[in-house]
Point group: C2
Chain length 188, copies 2
Amino acid sequence: MARWPPDAQARLTRAALELFAERGYEDTTVVDIVERAGLGKTTFFRYFKDKREVLFGGDERDDLVGDAIAAAPASATPLEAVAAAFDAAARERFTAERREPLTMRQQVIDANPQLREREALKYLGLVASMTTALERRGVAELQAAVSAELGILTLKLAFARWIAAKKAEDFGPLARRTLGEVRASAGR
Amino acid sequence: MARWPPDAQARLTRAALELFAERGYEDTTVVDIVERAGLGKTTFFRYFKDKREVLFGGDERDDLVGDAIAAAPASATPLEAVAAAFDAAARERFTAERREPLTMRQQVIDANPQLREREALKYLGLVASMTTALERRGVAELQAAVSAELGILTLKLAFARWIAAKKAEDFGPLARRTLGEVRASAGR
């Protein structure tokens, strides 16, 4: 029999997000989180290094964006390869059932300057991954930098639209539509 | 008679940059800096809150970029207004005599992960200033965000070219040329 319940990580995340929303991020402790989740501290530290990892842990363990760009067809233009990363994000991160916890998470981050700074640095890491992945496809340095900046800006804008929408929408088409608007704006 | 020599700030900056280059940023103290400059600690703290301010102080005290965008002709497109900010930067920051200290400064930052992070956040602050300044001109939100991202990316790329060039070049035209390349890349 497993020592940790199979849904422990999801329960801890949910409990943490609820508490961050209720009391604020600063005023929530790991003890509060495990009590709310009905689990122990050892279980918490099996999944998360600290409280902040509940918000920033998962997305950094792999390079979804870089892998999707690498896997795009050889014929894809830089921005088409970037769009392939949005489709991967739609399948693996921005799914309908994750919209509510991701919305709660974003509200917690938006309310805290340190967390906003942390998030900004995470996005810069994504720009760097995207740039490297495009360069590996043979895209020239300046072109790769521009495509990656526009790609991550699109991701941010599309994500904001996705969580703000009244009802759940498929993230992939929404992000591709946003990319079209960003491209159209880039020449002005 | 002035209590501080009129060139005290420049002497302190120069001494600090030399020491950062020689021993590394972490291994240089404020005492080292004032000794090298032949000045006292009180003088140092008149100009800088701490050692890091020698690198990041000056550029944050005003909103050069935002002001230049606000002052651009009403008929200017978003990217033309951004280019006006490059001209202001060329006049007030990236002058021929500042190329050497700015190059030394950049080498110090590039060698230190915490300073790189600090610099990245500073650039994000510039994106935000630029976005706000464009929106105040009546530019729509998404258009302002795209123009600001491309503007700051151009500023970074042009600055890297400016310090890498064998001989000093006028920053304004260099930045406008770089903006042209960035625009051309944005549609692909």
